[in-house]
Symmetry: C3
Subunit: 138 residues, 3 copies
């Protein structure tokens, strides 16, 4: 059985983290699939989906990490060749990735106590983001 | 067909790598699902699941990489706000992620010659880790 | 329903990016599975599968990122212990990973406008790479 759901988020970019666990829980509860997997997939190239403990300190620490490995003020060939300003956003998104698979049981994601499914938007400006939930199982 | 298996590992933290391929092979062999996918998922936020060639040199090289991008002695907002000591562990875990999907055929993971499925525990102290194997297919 | 497909690529290594989206589209179109997921999996330990906007600037920017976090001329225990020269390749591949799951609808991957599925080969010399497409659904 396959059940496809769509979620939309308005983001501020610049490393903003959005906790979508409540939306994920609600869509899974509403679905006829009770066991299997859910693929959480975002359709952009400057944004990622991952799991973290969601608290303000770690949101800042992720920005610091990304500033260290892909500084905003470094020179990016993407920006030069395309007259753009978000080379750092693309580069940072590569380290997180747009796809995450979580096992599902009894209509709920099998997350640990502190695990939250989050969207991280690295773009240089506000964006509207589409997230696909592909729920598969029985 | 869905088959859920649970594995538990006692880890030392600090970048310890545990090769769980033999356990994965055994659970898949034991399962009635012979073809499809297996999602390997760990339920913590300072630990990751990935694939690597498992040899002592690369275990050290991963620690060096992580020390470079998320130094243990840097200042972490997570530690300050929560009076904690594992901000670097959370940050490092973000770069690996807790979920991995491997194709399955004839009751075995379709791994390359040198590929091993590993758990990497980045926490600052020993932990007990729960790994879920969600086997799906026919 | 499960449909397994195999793709082979001859690569140059050293961070070469190969866009395999056209091959993915063709295999999905040819498959009897019209909705579900496709797992894209590469069977090496110095290579990754991810999604990016595929343009020459970002290919260079990814090389720069990887050179910053895992320099080619750093000392790697892998190289010392195994008399090898691709410790940086293994280390870089850890940050991308060998597995990616993309939702499928109407026989096509549900990719965003700029998203391309790519193989990135970090090895120090040319390689032949095997990619498995595990298509599951109905």
């Amino acid at each position: 059985m396959i059940d496809t759901r769509h979620l939309t988020y308005e983001t501020q970019g610049d490393g903003q983290v959005i906790d979508l666990t409540a939306d994920l829980n609600r869509e899974l509860e509403d679905s006829d699939v009770s066991g299997g997997t859910v693929t959480i997939f975002v359709t952009g190239t400057t944004v990622g989906i991952t799991i973290m403990e969601y608290e303000p300190g770690l949101v800042e620490d992720m920005k610091t990490l990304m500033g260290r490995v892909a500084p905003r003020d470094a020179s990016y060939r993407h920006d030069i060749l395309n007259n753009d300003d978000n080379g750092h956003s693309h580069t940072r998104a590569l380290l997180i990735g747009p796809s995450l698979v979580v096992p599902v049981a009894d209509g709920s994601p099998m997350l640990g106590t502190w695990q939250r499914v989050v969207l991280v938007d690295f773009d240089s400006h506000p964006r509207s983001r589409n997230v696909i939930l592909q729920i598969m199982g029985e």
